[in-house]
């Protein structure tokens, strides 16, 4: 039981994390797009303009990944003709853009959100359902758990 008390203390000290979820916006159909509405929980944490800009860039990147145009058709036809074995050597366009998105999120986290105690999770890790924003609040000095 004494150990339980110590655990309580540790828990008090550990950073409190809560999560905000930005859901998908299906108004444009099935393409991947996230709502740009500013969540109320972030009011005090981050600049509205900044957040909306991040979301808009993210949406643009996903739109780029899913764009149906000459280039994607060419890739599709080439893949079909090589019985999709070409993807053993080459990445699909979508995968390339996903990597770009991962880099973008990492950069945004490092530059803007981490200093504010926030963390954006790459939507691909949540099955492209939500953008998960973790809010960290340090209660006291974290004892390095």
């Amino acid at each position: 039981m004494a150990e339980a008390h110590n655990l309580q203390d540790l828990q008090h000290q550990a950073a409190l994390a809560s999560k905000v979820y930005v859901q998908r916006d299906y108004n444009s159909g099935t393409i991947c797009r996230f709502q740009t509405k500013f969540p109320s929980e972030l009011e005090s944490r981050v600049d509205r303009q900044q957040f909306e800009e991040t979301m808009q860039t993210l949406n643009n990147l996903y739109a780029e990944a899913e764009k149906i145009g000459g280039k994607s058709y060419l890739e599709g036809c080439l893949a079909c003709m090589t019985a999709y074995t070409i993807f053993l050597c080459m990445e699909t366009h979508y995968e390339k853009v996903l990597k770009k998105i991962a880099r973008f999120i990492k950069e945004q986290n490092e530059k803007i959100y981490a200093p504010l105690g926030l963390l954006l999770t790459d939507p691909i890790e949540r099955g492209l359902r939500v953008v998960e924003i973790t809010i960290f609040e340090d209660r006291s000095i974290s004892s390095g758990r």
Binding site: M1, E3, A4, L7, Q8, L10, Q11, H12, A14, A15, L16, A17, S18, K19, V20, Y21, Q23, R24, Y26, N27, S28, G29, T30, A65, E66, K67, I68, S72, Y73, E75, G76, C77, A79, C80, A83, Y84, T92, H93, Y94, E95, L98, N109, A114, L119, I124, E125, R126, G127, L128, R129, V130, E132, T134, F136, R145
Partner: protein, 475 residues
Amino acid sequence: MLQLGVAEPMRECEYSQISTRSSTPMETPYKKRTPKKRKWQAFPGRNKFYCNGRIMMARQTGVFYLTLVLILITSGLFFTFDCPFLSVQLTPAIPVIGGVLFVFVLGTLFRTSFSDPGVLPRATPDEAADLERQIDVANGSSSGYRPPPRTKEVVINGQTVKLKYCFTCKIFRPPRASHCSLCDNCVERFDHHCPWVGNCVGKRNYRFFYMFILSLSFLTIFIFAFVITHVILRSHRQGFLNALKDTPASVLEVVVCFFSVWSIVGLSGFHTYLISSNQTTNEDIKGSWSSKRGKDNYNPYSHGNIFTNCCAALCGPLPPSLIDRRGFVQSDTPQPTPPTNGITMYGSTQSQSHMAAATPLMQSEPVILTDEASLPGRTSLGGPCSGALPLGGQPTPPTSTPNLSCDNGMLPTRNDHSEAHHHFLTPEEAPSPPGMLPCGSPLGHSHTIQGFYNPASQDSLHEDSVRGLVKLSSV
């Protein structure tokens, strides 16, 4: 067990390895003790995986093997018995074209059967809890066992589309997605579950499926035509009956092809229509976009013309798999507890009696509950556990069992002392019905764990997930 169940919910979270395995100090990374598991091994749906997660199929694969056998035998007989004669008598191009078609058919079949159709991964417990909260706020407090059906309406391209909430996956399904009851997964752009290919047909493998049935139609017609030609040519020399005696295999081939042609060519035609109008089988059967429903009813997903629709379906970008099958489970938490524990924790409430007995221990330490209570559905339940993870790392993964025991401790106390706990609840918590939020997370855990261990108990799970949405006190 009494003590462990309730008295030390947090302890369970942090030292859960102690209770289930040997004693291990908190500092030792769990990774060293348990082998790294791949995500496919902890996949909650009813799928089978082969080649270490590279291949993904439905549970019932018997009919797939039948398809494969039929194709192989018919083609094999064709190449062995008919091609030698035909290549000499007519042209060697026949076996060549036949060979190309055959390879294409097999390639597309395997690609359809073995790939991820577009499964949507289930919501993490935190997400599920967040959604529950939002829904409750929208609905007002819901009492009674079954909350009203959850739907969201969205306007796409001028058409109102209803998004349904999936109770199993705890998500609002994207438009055109559907939950396959055979595979127990939500699949994007769900077309149908095809037993012949042993997999669902969805966004990611629809083009392969289409090319499979199209090429199979060509192959069937090809074999049918040339086997008949073979028999006719032979009959000219030897007479019909003698010809049949010389090539008995041809009879079998003709019979198989004759019956296949009707169904497969018919299916190809049907899917060609679906592709050109950008509909799924599901939508067509339900008549979602049929003009019979209303004058203004049209398909909002169609690109307008047949050519664009076909190109988009067949040559559009191939989305990546959303379920990372071969990735490693980010688990700093130990292996899940054995299935029996998991089931009894949520399936039965008889455990509540001994939980209740242990509650006095909790009462003496209300502070713990405050912390737990103040972050429901968030990482609090996984808080102490995920504290072990580097901050900013993955939140508690679905297979983390310790939360089960944590929550097990939480649930009965909330029920028994719901009023007392209200005092401790932060304002954010107040609107949510007590006992629900913690239920959200553990159910997420138990769900995946149960799915991992005992897919047959999905029904009880489904029931539990519904139950879990209301106060357990009435259960």
